[in-house]
């Protein structure tokens, strides 16, 4: 045990995951961080092995993946794990962010972990987009590579030149596939570095807790208490994952991506896997402002530490804000669904209303609810003072 506390590197391990003081009252919603770290680890491991056989060439990419699935021993497990953990990664990150919004984790002193988290989210999406393109099926080529890169053409003046610069040609082709592969290999390591900084900044002040007040009077050690609590959800995840990988591996995929990419044929309908943000993009008639809105929809999470005017941390004692938290969840769900629909009425109007609600949640509702709740608390306290 002494070496764990004296060796300069093991000391760090000790202070982060062995002796690290944790609030006694953090709920299961605080388990998503360790699940996310596990997902990143699984993705890097399986990805490195997939890359040993994957071939980044327009003529070979699709077949090389089929070959991994059919010819390599347990290659199917490697590939299906990589594909499905990517989906779980997003489910977990949305849950992790929702926990942050519900318990106002973004408030000082945790502005840094939150802001780094938003950058992690953007980078995760970029990585997933690049990875999906690598399969080079119809959805890779049209749903993502073409539609998403074309968004860049909305940049004023240089847009069209810039898209060709990104493609490395006049359309999505071999050069594009190669640079996407290169970046898809690189970005997860950038993500890993950011995740470490995320935990570094969190470690300075420690985790928050459902009550939103200081838990310095009531801490217990990470090990064994939260190591084993984290293991509960880790085993649960591995159980569900193994059922999905072995029994329903294509549950979360799109069948069109089993058709090799064909630049001469567009798929019947193009549905990027970016539903909520795609819905926001489409609900704005101007292409440029649509693209800006789509990125703003992600970056707007950065305003939370300023937008939240409440003096109280966490929704436990903020009934009005608790209600509006669920309003945001439902709005997000509606955008998710609208993004997968054809752009016809009534879906267009619903998408526009949901987009408006989404943005007003951050810049109007949240600050206003904070001010209202603060004032109500003040009034209640004043009344109490008066009674004395």
């Amino acid at each position: 045990m002494r070496i764990l506390k004296q060796n300069p590197i093991l000391r760090l391990v000790n202070s982060y995951i062995v002796d690290s003081p944790q609030p006694t009252n953090i709920s299961y919603l605080w388990n998503f961080g360790s699940l996310l770290a596990l997902c990143l680890g699984i993705q890097i491991l399986t990805g490195v092995f997939l890359a040993m056989r994957y071939t980044a060439h327009v003529d070979l990419a699709f077949d090389s993946i089929e070959s991994i699935m059919r010819d390599v021993s347990y290659g199917w497990a490697l590939r299906y794990t990589h594909a499905n953990v990517a989906s779980f990664f997003f489910i977990f990150v949305y849950a992790h962010i929702a926990r942050g919004l519900y318990y106002n984790s973004y408030k000082s002193p945790r502005v840094a972990p939150w802001s780094i988290g938003v950058i992690i989210l953007v980078l995760m999406m970029a990585t997933a987009f690049l990875g999906y393109c690598l399969v080079y099926g119809q959805m890779s080529l049209w749903g993502l590579a073409t539609v998403i890169t074309n968004l860049l053409s909305a940049i004023p003046w240089i847009g069209n030149d810039f898209v060709e610069f990104v493609w490395g040609g006049f359309s999505v082709g071999n050069a594009t596939l190669n640079r996407f592969f290169s970046l898809h290999y690189l970005l997860p390591f950038v993500l890993a570095a950011l995740a470490i900084v995320h935990m570094l900044t969190l470690h300075t002040h420690g985790s928050s807790n459902p009550l939103g007040i200081s838990s310095n009077v009531d801490k217990i050690a990470m090990h064994p208490y939260f190591i084993f609590k984290d293991l509960v959800t880790i085993y649960l995840f591995l159980l569900v994952l193994s059922i999905i990988v072995t029994q329903y591996p294509n549950l979360m995929g799109h069948s069109d991506n089993y058709i090799p990419a064909n630049p001469m044929v567009t798929p019947a309908s193009i549905v990027p896997e970016w539903y909520p943000f795609y819905a926001i993009l489409r609900s704005i008639p101007s292409k440029l402002f649509g693209v800006i809105a789509m990125f703003a929809a992600l970056l707007i999470y950065l305003v939370m530490p300023i937008a939240d005017t409440s003096r109280i941390r966490g929704n436990q004692f903020r009934p009005l804000n608790k209600f509006f938290f669920w309003v945001l969840v439902v709005t997000f769900g509606i955008l998710f669904w609208i993004g997968s629909q054809h752009p016809v009425e009534p879906f267009v109007t619903i998408g526009q209303v949901a987009t408006t609600l989404y943005f007003s949640w951050f810049i109007i509702i949240t600050p206003l609810v904070g001010i209202i709740e603060n004032s109500l608390f003040d009034i209640a306290l004043l009344a109490k003072e008066g009674n004395k």
Binding site: T204, G206, S214, N216, V217, F325, V329, V330, I350
Partner: protein, 96 residues
């Protein structure tokens, strides 16, 4: 090196009020039942706790579900024979 204010200390200097008179009780590990009443307790208390949150999440989800079913039915109608006919009579669909 100067640094930011840190909100948490290390064991023994956590930053909370001084603790005194701590008493610990425990029963023999042979007598403990770690999961005693977990499931039966959850049936009562879990449902009660989730139920207490219902006023906050049921209305938004109800509205969302209503919008979802309404729009789906409307879309279904728009793509039906009757819907096409109605649109044509209203002069919306041009000549197809």
């Amino acid at each position: 090196m100067p640094g930011p204010k840190v909100y948490i200390g290390w064991w023994g200097a956590m930053g909370g009020p001084k603790q005194k008179g701590i008493t610990q009780y425990s029963i023999s590990p042979y007598r403990q039942r770690a999961l005693k009443g977990m499931l039966s307790g959850y049936i009562v208390h879990g449902i009660r706790r989730i139920g207490a949150q219902a006023p906050y999440f049921v209305p938004p989800f109800a509205v969302g579900y209503f919008v979802y079913t309404w729009a789906k039915a409307k879309d279904h109608y728009n793509n039906s024979k009757a819907g096409h006919l109605a649109a044509m009579q209203a002069g919306e669909h041009g000549d197809h």
